[in-house]
């Protein structure tokens, strides 16, 4: 396995820089929200991690289709990479949301449609890894993973639309929200700058982690093939 390509090294550096700028914009540049105080700053990374989380789950569903069509193991590696990174980011989204909810809703957790669907998405993809581990044959595992991510991807738009379709206390910052929503606010220009920059930065960070994880997946596959050869 070759060392990192210059393109990936450059992307690593750019990602660190973008994360630093996004953190500066969220914590210092954006003004303190009057009603919620500093905890509102969690919102910038909460939405950005949710965005890349959902992006990865959809990407996994798409690569699942490609794998079923081509039966090429490299698409299984791409699919696993997308799910793993999204699982990490979506976990952060849920935890950040819970931390924000404590002072604003006066509770860490409530079985609101958005929170419930988000928790289901996380559990679906957590189960994906647990179930994959139980299948030894790489081709069977690949087929199973592809079908699973394809079906799992349906949960993503349901979660995204839940705050727009159902009665919910979860705020919708962009677009119209439920009359029962609590904790919504209007963004000023510096807030919008921090928000959209975080979305951009996390998209680049996602691509960087995705590339790194695919490299790891290729190495895993190489070692697995060598082990199978030795055992035969």
């Amino acid at each position: 396995m070759q060392s990192k390509s210059p393109g990936l090294v450059l992307l690593d550096i750019v990602s660190v820089l973008l994360l630093s700028i996004a953190t500066y914009l969220a914590l210092i540049y954006a003004p303190t929200e009057r009603v919620m105080g500093d905890v509102q700053r969690v919102f910038y990374f909460h939405v950005a991690t949710a965005w890349v989380g959902m992006l990865g789950f959809i990407a996994a569903g798409v690569t699942g289709i490609i794998y079923l069509h081509t039966q090429n193991i490299k698409w299984d590696i791409v699919e696993v990479a997308a799910v793993e990174i999204s699982l990490v980011f979506f976990f952060i989204t849920i935890v950040l949301g819970s931390i924000w909810a404590r002072p604003i809703w006066n509770t860490w957790w409530t079985w609101d449609p958005r929170l419930t669907t988000a928790a289901i998405v996380e559990l679906i993809y957590l189960a994906y890894f647990m179930l994959r581990q139980g299948i030894e044959d790489p081709n069977r595992r690949g087929r199973f993973g592809a079908v699973y991510t394809l079906i799992g991807a349906i949960s993503v738009p349901i979660t995204f639309l839940s705050i727009r379709l159902f009665r919910t206390i979860h705020p919708v910052v962009i677009g119209s929200q439920s009359t029962e929503a609590q904790g919504g606010f209007n963004m000023t220009l510096p807030m919008k700058t921090a928000f959209f920059f975080a979305l951009f930065a996390f998209t680049v960070i996602f691509i960087d982690l995705f590339w790194n994880r695919i490299r790891l997946g290729n190495l895993e596959q190489k070692v697995e093939q060598m082990k199978l050869k030795v055992m035969q």
Binding site: M1, T23, L27, T32, E33, R34, V35, M36, G37, D38, V39, Q40, R41, V42, F45, H46, T49, V88, F91, I92, V95, L96, I99, W100, R102, P103, N212, R213, L216, L219, E220, K222, V223, M226, K227, K229, V230
Partner: protein, 58 residues
């Protein structure tokens, strides 16, 4: 009219949120690095076993 509304001090929650974010990201990066190093360490061992097997077959 004088506003009596005071912005609440919720800094602790903000700090907790960002600490968890960076903590989880750092743990994930360490896990990627560890898995990479373990796999790299396995390759020469497996190559050696492959060579031994081919010698034994011949």
């Amino acid at each position: 009219m004088i506003s009596t509304e005071v912005t609440p001090n919720t800094s602790v929650y903000m700090i907790a949120g960002y600490a968890i974010f960076f903590g989880v990201i750092i743990i994930y990066l360490i896990s990627l690095l560890l898995r990479w190093n373990i796999l790299k360490r396995d390759i020469p061992i497996l190559e050696g076993m492959e060579k031994q097997e081919s010698i034994a077959e011949n």
